[in-house]
């Protein structure tokens, strides 16, 4: 991608795309969306950035870093879910949570879970698309 206009415009749009994705992830339990939708949007931003600035993207987000992020997110997600499941089996009759106010933090662990799913989806799509792009250049 050698076009100067694309490069300059990209600096701003990518930030907007990230913000939109993060908003969707954080509001996953309040409005339509969630980890999957937000993760795909963020991965679209990452891919756009990679197509315009391949060197910088490779330096900041190397394959190794992406893999570590995916594994870390999966581990966090898996441990929280395991705790929920095992705790739920042991304790008969689940405790209803208190009425949560309509806010980002109201969902409790849902926020963390959604964030983890977002990281997993974004990282996966980003690394896969990077491999697909290699053949094209």
């Amino acid at each position: 991608m050698k076009s100067l206009i694309l490069k300059e415009v990209n600096r701003f749009t990518v930030i907007l795309i990230y913000m939109f994705g993060i908003y969707i992830i954080l509001h996953g339990h309040l409005s339509p969306g969630g980890g999957f939708a937000g993760g795909t949007i963020i991965s679209a931003g990452l891919i756009l950035y990679h197509m315009v600035y391949p060197e910088r993207s490779n330096r900041v987000l190397s394959d190794d870093t992406v893999m570590k992020a995916i594994c870390g997110a999966l581990l966090v997600y898996g441990s929280i879910k395991s705790y929920h499941i095992l705790h739920g089996i042991l304790v008969t009759g689940h405790h209803a949570k208190e009425m949560a106010p309509y806010s980002i933090a109201g969902g409790g662990t849902l926020l963390i879970l959604n964030t983890c799913v977002g990281i997993i989806v974004a990282g996966t799509f980003f690394s896969v698309t990077k491999l697909f792009l290699k053949g094209d250049q």
């Binding site: 969306g33 879910k81 209803a96 949570k97 849902l110 690394s127 697909f132």
Partner: protein
């Protein structure tokens, strides 16, 4: 030619069989169809108390049936690993590949 004819016939038979099933399905959009039962009512009315989520679909995906989502994330991860294994070439080789 034979291949085309046989595939068309096979597909038509498949569609006919499936449409026979559709004729017995409950009517579209009715409120008293079998799926709209006590399961749905609990999800819709108690999701905020149970999980703290105002988005019922999110509540099901992440909490009521959260185990499914864990496996699904595993599937996604697994696909990523397989693609990396099958497409990623060693660092030195990739440049050579581009030139040819």
């Amino acid at each position: 030619m034979f291949r085309v004819a046989s595939s068309v016939i096979l597909t038509l038979i498949l569609i006919m069989v499936l449409l026979t099933g559709v004729t017995e399905l409950p009517q579209f959009g009715l409120a008293d169809a079998p799926p709209h039962n006590e399961v749905m009512e609990k999800y819709n009315s108690e999701s905020v108390e149970d999980t703290g989520s105002y988005n019922v679909v999110s509540a099901i995906v992440l909490d009521y049936r959260g185990f499914d989502t864990l496996i699904e994330a595993t599937v996604l991860f697994c696909a990523a690993i397989i693609i990396i294994v099958s497409l990623k070439k060693p660092e030195g080789e990739s440049d050579e590949e581009l030139n040819t």
